[in-house]
């Protein structure tokens, strides 16, 4: 398989995230740094190492949809906000408030809101005015660690150690309302990805599930079971929803392809390929927003960008 190895982190790489232009990849690691890799002459080259924000593992990283901002979340409880100044991403603010490890950061589609979540069971929503970020709201709806967050436009979804998913919407009463979904995962929900009206969840119960988001509920469409023998830490839809990939602690990546649409109009996905991707746990998979390149990272300190030849 055609694949490029991106090697520079000194410890496990927790997450990779694409710039919306599909040319830059950000990665974050237990080595306390964030690295930026840019495509130049068909090769990804390290262009920046961001090491001035975090004093512990950097768990999560995310670009805003306009590419202006980068956010990072770390075990040191800090959320870092970085801004592009025309040549580099520079640290503009360190947001403090979480009481323990930050596990996820994510930007709303309009880049107006940044959300962060963590072991303190909370989700923080931050907004900004004149490049000054401040806390808009602290939401404590989960009973346990909040492991992941994902925006669909201006609606936020979170997945938790309490095995549930919660949806947050900004109501007419100027408050964030929430609704909890018990989506029949038997253990921690490690990741959520969303494509149009489809939500993909992955869990420590070694399964992934696809839901249809409709009428304010999550309707289960498909459970992917038996493909991985260890927790599935990450799932990612391709830009067109034709594929999704899963990355697991069994060191494997699986790729599923939409192969049918049932009488109700719901898609069905079938296994396209499954392969040993790394020596150790796969912590994150992320499809490029423009093409079928798949970035992934692992406990073995490496990042790989796969050309899956789909």
């Amino acid at each position: 398989m055609n694949c490029q190895l991106l090697k520079d982190h000194k410890e496990r790489v927790w997450q990779v995230a694409w710039h919306p232009n599909g040319q830059i990849l950000a990665s974050c690691s237990s080595d306390k740094t964030i690295k930026l890799w840019q495509l130049m002459n068909d090769q990804y080259k390290l262009i920046q190492t961001l090491d001035e924000c975090h004093t512990k593992s950097v768990r999560s990283v995310s670009f805003s949809k306009d590419g202006q901002f980068l956010a990072s979340g770390g075990f040191d409880t800090v959320v870092g906000v970085w801004m592009y100044d025309g040549s580099k991403y520079k640290l503009i603010q360190q947001l403090e408030g979480h009481e323990s490890e930050v596990k996820g950061v994510a930007w709303s589609a309009d880049s107006n809101y940044l959300a962060s979540c963590g072991r303190d069971k909370t989700v923080w929503i931050w907004d900004h005015e004149d490049l000054e970020f401040s806390c808009n709201c602290v939401l404590q709806a989960h009973d346990e660690d909040v492991k992941c967050i994902k925006w669909k436009d201006t609606t936020l979804y979170s997945g938790s150690y309490d095995n549930s998913v919660i949806r947050y919407t900004y109501g007419e009463d100027d408050e964030w309302d929430h609704k909890q979904f018990q989506i029949e995962h038997q253990s921690t929900i490690w990741s959520i990805d969303i494509f149009n009206k489809l939500l993909l969840s992955t869990s420590a119960d070694c399964t992934a599930k696809v839901f249809s988001i409709q009428d304010g509920t999550l309707k289960p469409i498909q459970t992917l079971q038996g493909f991985h023998k260890e927790p599935i830490y990450s799932g990612s839809f391709s830009y067109d929803g034709l594929y999704f990939a899963l990355g697991s602690a069994d060191n494997k990546i699986s790729v599923f392809k939409k192969d049918a649409i049932d009488e109700l109009g719901y898609p069905h996905y079938a296994l396209d390929q499954i392969f040993d991707a790394f020596e150790f746990d796969v912590n994150c998979v992320a499809f490029n927003p423009k093409n079928y390149l798949l970035a992934a990272c692992s406990d073995d300190e490496n990042i790989k960008v796969f050309n899956l030849q789909l």
């Binding site: 075990f75 596990k103 253990s187 921690t188 020596e279």
Partner: protein
Amino acid sequence: MQLENPKPQIFQTGNFEFTQQYIKRKQQEYDPDVEDPIDEYEIFDLVKSIKDPEHSFTLEQLNIVNPSDISIQGNRVMVYFTPTIPHCSMAQTIGLTLKIKLMRSLPKNYKIYVEIKQNMHIKEVELNKLFQDKERVLAAIENQQLLKIINFGIQGLR
């Protein structure tokens, strides 16, 4: 501080050394033609000297770990441990110490499972989930206070 279990039962150590399986294994160790895979006795060797957080005894002396509650399949290692009492508040520290000691000692491609033996603790489901949560375990290592306690346990009694 008042001890939760002031007079724990102390067990005779090394009983397993008389089992046929162990004797055979010992003999094979000196035979260059026989491959020595990592087995349950080797895992036991790694964890037996860990110091109990409450008492000046090892996990072996308190029968918290023993070779028959360890199993290996390929690169998957399962260690079940038995807290001295079902409401032992030290069970979390013991589990984390076992997991971290094995993570440090075994080849990195090993998948390590540490669990409380069935029906041996009032919070076993909750704690077993915690021991299996990689993020929680790794965050514990980055917590200086917790790491000190864990390292003290790993350092053990010699």
